[in-house]
């Protein structure tokens, strides 16, 4: 056993490349086809398992298969020396052991109050321990060479023969076809098992089918990528697909693409560099694709989330800017009027005519004072508002509203004040605190809410007028 790690000592790089180039293309293609199908099958079945919250069931199965493989080897060798190396025999043993491990997990869950995580850990540990013990026993067998059995942990993609690939490929295809045929049933099972049961679906049988599929894929993957790593094929692509879509059909598609792609990448890379175990490279390719999905996935990828967040923040900033302009103008005396509209500490209590807000420039100092902007942020909002045609510069450091800007500003201020009044009257927020509370929501009020609010506060804003601010506005320094 000690030999298997060092047996394939690294060849010098030149020789390696040479060997890779000399590799018959046909053989590479065959292996590629096998791992590709395996990758897709694992990705598709894994998606259902992920949604059922049993992603780690594959972990239990794959560890348990070692016991099955060794046991099958021993039984076969006892009946007929030399027959223990047949892939079909070993996979049958692995299948039975994987099923037994899931059976043990289910038994523990049904009969005790041990919870799922511990039940899985126990049956994983017991079966894996059994497998390792049996492996040491099998070493003493007079017939047959046991050394290859431990390769099941790491996989031996490069040494796959055509017959192996045919078996792996056809079983993977079987799993894919079964998932396709039972798509509707498995979907129902994954999302609402109880509902499926009340609708009369044979959920127990479907559970069994899904478990059977997982065990099948895990077992098929043994020889190709190894027992410990096949679980990655079951989990990584579906988890990556979560970042691309919330719809099951698209998620399965994304998962299959990622699974197939990582299988192909891994196989090709390890063909070129035989010192890298194919199983590990396939899994790492999957991990890279996972990271890419996490970053760029359209559903909740980090980059899109950041872009969306930035867009929203800037839109909110611009709305605040327009409101600030409006409120500064509002507090200035109308042209021809003397003094401020409101006396010191006086609270406006009557609807007032809207100020003529166009052609009333405001300057940077006024804006800066109105909301304690970060200067750069104010600058950016100003620039964007000018580009959007909401503001226009007047002189060096002053701006006035355009026609569009005036309309927007009135709408924004109106929404803000309606929501403030709602908070004051319904949520009992004191007027002195309401300004910033309203800030959180006002930008996201849908039209029908605005409609109902303006009906509710019709007295304060007759004819769709902008209501007076229910609180003191920050004084705008001239």
């Amino acid at each position: 056993m000690n030999g298997f790690l060092f047996s394939s000592a690294m060849l010098p790089v030149a020789e390696t490349l040479f060997a890779a180039l000399q590799l018959p293309a046909y053989n590479t293609q065959v292996v590629l086809a096998g791992t590709f199908l395996l990758g897709v099958a694992a990705a598709v079945t894994g998606t259902f398992m992920l949604l059922r919250g049993q992603a780690l069931a594959g972990d239990v199965v794959s560890h348990a298969t070692l016991a099955g493989v060794v046991l099958a080897f021993m039984v076969a060798e006892m009946f007929q020396a030399g027959s223990g190396r047949s892939l079909a025999v070993l996979l049958t043993g692995a299948f039975l052991a994987g099923g037994a491990a899931i059976g043990l997990t289910t038994f523990i869950l049904r009969t005790t109050r041990i919870r799922q995580d511990a039940a899985m850990a126990i049956s994983l540990g017991v079966f894996y321990g059994l497998g390792i013990s049996l492996l040491t026993v099998a070493e003493d067998f007079p017939t047959g060479n046991v050394a290859g059995l431990s390769h099941f942990l790491e996989g031996m993609t490069a040494s796959l023969r055509l017959s192996d690939v045919q078996l792996i490929g056809s079983l993977s295809l079987l799993a894919i076809v079964l998932c396709g045929v039972l798509f509707k049933e498995l979907r129902l099972l994954s999302f609402d098992r109880d509902f499926a049961a009340t609708q009369g679906w044979p959920v127990g049988l479907l559970d069994l089918v899904l478990i059977g599929l997982i065990v099948l894929v895990a077992v098929v993957g043994l020889k190709a990528v190894g027992a410990v790593l096949v679980v990655a094929l079951l989990i990584i692509p579906p988890a990556a697909a979560r970042f691309w879509s919330d719809r099951l059909s698209r998620m399965i598609l994304a998962s299959a693409v990622i699974g197939g792609a990582s299988a192909v990448c891994g196989t090709v890379i390890s063909t070129m560099l035989p010192s890298l175990a194919a199983g590990a490279v396939i899994v790492l390719s999957g991990a890279v694709l996972f990271c890419l999905s996490l970053a760029f996935g359209t559903e909740r990828g980090l980059v899109w989330q950041a872009v969306h967040h930035r867009r929203t923040t800037r839109r909110v900033d611009r709305q605040h800017l327009l409101r600030a302009v409006y409120e500064i103008i509002e507090q200035q005396p109308e042209p021809g009027e003397q003094g401020s509209r409101y006396g010191e500490g006086e609270k406006p209590d009557r609807p007032h005519p809207e100020p003529d807000i166009r052609h009333r420039p405001v300057n940077r100092a006024q804006l800066q004072n109105c909301r304690r902007w970060v200067p750069a942020r104010l600058e950016r909002s100003l620039k964007q508002s000018i580009r959007e045609g909401m503001l226009e510069p007047v002189g060096a450091d002053a701006w006035q509203l355009t026609e569009d800007g005036a309309v927007s500003a009135q709408r924004i201020v109106r929404n803000h004040r309606l929501w403030e009044m709602y908070l004051i009257s319904q949520v009992d927020i004191p007027p002195s605190h309401v300004d910033r509370d309203a800030d959180d929501v006002e930008h996201f009020l849908p039209p029908d809410v605005i409609e109902s609010l303006s009906r509710q506060f019709a007295a304060s804003s007759p004819g769709g007028q902008i209501p007076a601010s229910p609180h003191l506005l920050p004084p705008a320094e001239q």
Partner: protein
């Protein structure tokens, strides 16, 4: 049977395994309680990357001349621990991150993280295999068996010392932090409000688990650690509901599993092979058999745990069935007496008891019920006839009273046809005590007859029966 040679080396193996098992069981208890058992599995896999990464860095540091030859071994060991702990915490952090970003279950996030890190570890092992002395087989499978060879002339082998030190560290931490660990395991929300940071506890536990795994992986193998972490703790949790007792039990179970595992490894393979006529084999791997022995202990607990084991529960149900049979016999004999009052009964009891239509198992239960009734002095057997004793008649009266009161209650409160009352009453009569009977009777304003017009016997007043 082959003669068992228990040598000093075997004692060393068992002591090492027991120390390792106990060291693992301590953090295992908390993993089980916090439902993070599979975290143990993940950490045992990713520790490979930590060890390999540490090896790589240490060898790189030596070849760069930063570390002298003299200090190299110490640096290697230290960096191994640091590496495994760092990767362990990294696993936990990444899992939490992916879980919240991808809105997947934490088990799925865990699966993504640990398989990727394990694959990376495997690749690195491959790449560095020529430069360093890291034996992948040792990391994955452990080498308990080779202990005697390595520790000739020592009382305790080196790996036993390491496992022992790890055990002491874990023990001290558990004793010192018992209150905090307990609170954050059972009520994380309360723990947070009284100032115990859930995050610190979580990552602290991960650190301890990773450290323990590294301390014992050399002897038991990194993946088998999962069996040593979880199985004793889960077994103990079946046997008690008190946390302190559970922890002590898990330590004991770890020791038992270590001994039983090694013993089974020595004896079981040749026994089984001889029994089925297989080829001659030597012992099995001890580390693996310890995991299997732990599983055996767990299975025994599942079957036998007092109160909640499968067999005790079956036994309780059987006892209940027999009690019900006894009571049914009493009720049946009472109704027979009631019906035959004044007129001699033509048919003998034995013709309709046990019910000839019942299945053989049910007839067996009926017989058991009968025996119990006789031995309790409730029923007398004369020849083939069964007859109530005075004590039996009193019990039977209570039963029939329960039955008929319940029928009356059902009839008064539910619009059920008369022929639907009997079934539920026949079931409920076995569970009604005197208090409930009085309450029912009060509620129905002391009825004399049930809905079928039969008299309801009084409460324990035999003399009033005539």
């Amino acid at each position: 049977m082959q003669e068992l040679h228990w040598a000093r080396g075997d004692t060393q193996v068992v002591v090492t395994a027991a120390l390792a098992g106990m060291a693992c069981a301590l953090p295992g208890n908390w993993l089980v309680l916090r439902r993070q058992s599979m975290m143990g599995d993940a950490l045992s896999h990713t520790s490979l990357l930590g060890v390999v990464g540490a090896f790589l860095l240490a060898y790189a540091a030596r070849s760069a001349g930063w570390v002298g030859e003299a200090a190299f071994d110490g640096v290697l060991v230290l960096s191994m621990y640091a590496g495994a702990i760092a990767v362990g915490v990294l696993t936990a952090v990444l899992t939490e991150w992916i879980r919240s970003l991808g809105r997947v279950e934490s088990s799925a996030a865990l699966g993504v993280v640990y398989t990727s890190l394990f694959a990376l570890g495997l690749l690195l092992v491959r790449l560095m295999a020529n430069d360093t002395h890291l034996d992948l087989n040792c990391v994955l499978f452990g080498r308990l068996e080779t202990i005697p060879l390595e520790s000739i002339g020592q009382t305790l082998p080196r790996v036993a010392w390491i496992a022992g030190i790890s055990l002491v560290i874990n023990l001290v931490l558990v004793v010192l932090l018992f209150k905090e660990l307990r609170l954050s395991a059972f009520d994380p929300a309360l723990a947070t409000t009284v100032g115990i940071s859930a995050r610190v506890m979580h990552y602290g536990l991960m650190t301890i688990t990773a450290g323990t795994i590294i301390a014992v992986f050399e002897s038991v193998g990194s993946i088998l650690v999962i069996a040593m972490l979880i199985t004793p703790a889960a077994t103990a949790s079946l046997l008690t509901r008190r946390l302190g007792v559970m922890i002590v039990l898990s330590l004991l179970l770890a020791v038992v599993a270590a001994f039983a595992g090694h013993f089974a490894a020595l004896t079981l393979p040749s026994l089984v092979m001889r029994a089925i006529g297989g080829p001659e084999v030597e012992s099995a791997g001890t580390a693996g058999m310890i995991a299997v022995a732990g599983g055996g202990l767990f299975l025994a607990a599942v079957l036998l745990a007092p109160g909640e084991g499968v067999l005790p529960r079956l036994w309780d149900r059987l006892q209940l069935r027999i009690r019900i049979e006894t009571e049914d016999l009493l009720g049946w004999l009472y109704r027979r007496e009631e019906a035959g009052r004044g007129i001699p009964l033509s048919a003998s009891v034995s013709e309709s008891w046990p019910d000839p239509a019942a299945s053989p198992f049910e007839r067996l239960l009926s017989r058991a019920g009968e025996r119990r009734a006789i031995s309790a002095g409730l029923v007398q057997r004369t020849g083939k006839e069964l007859q109530l004793t005075d004590a039996g008649r009193k019990t039977a009266e209570e039963l029939v009273r329960s039955h008929r009161l319940w029928e009356s209650y059902m009839a008064a409160h539910f619009p059920l046809p008369e022929d639907h009352l009997h079934e539920t009453a026949a079931r409920v009569e076995h569970y009604l005590g005197p208090d409930l009977r009085d309450e029912l009777s009060q509620e129905l304003s002391l009825p004399d007859e049930d809905p079928h017009g039969r008299p309801i016997p009084g409460e324990g007043r035999i003399e009033n029966r005539e």
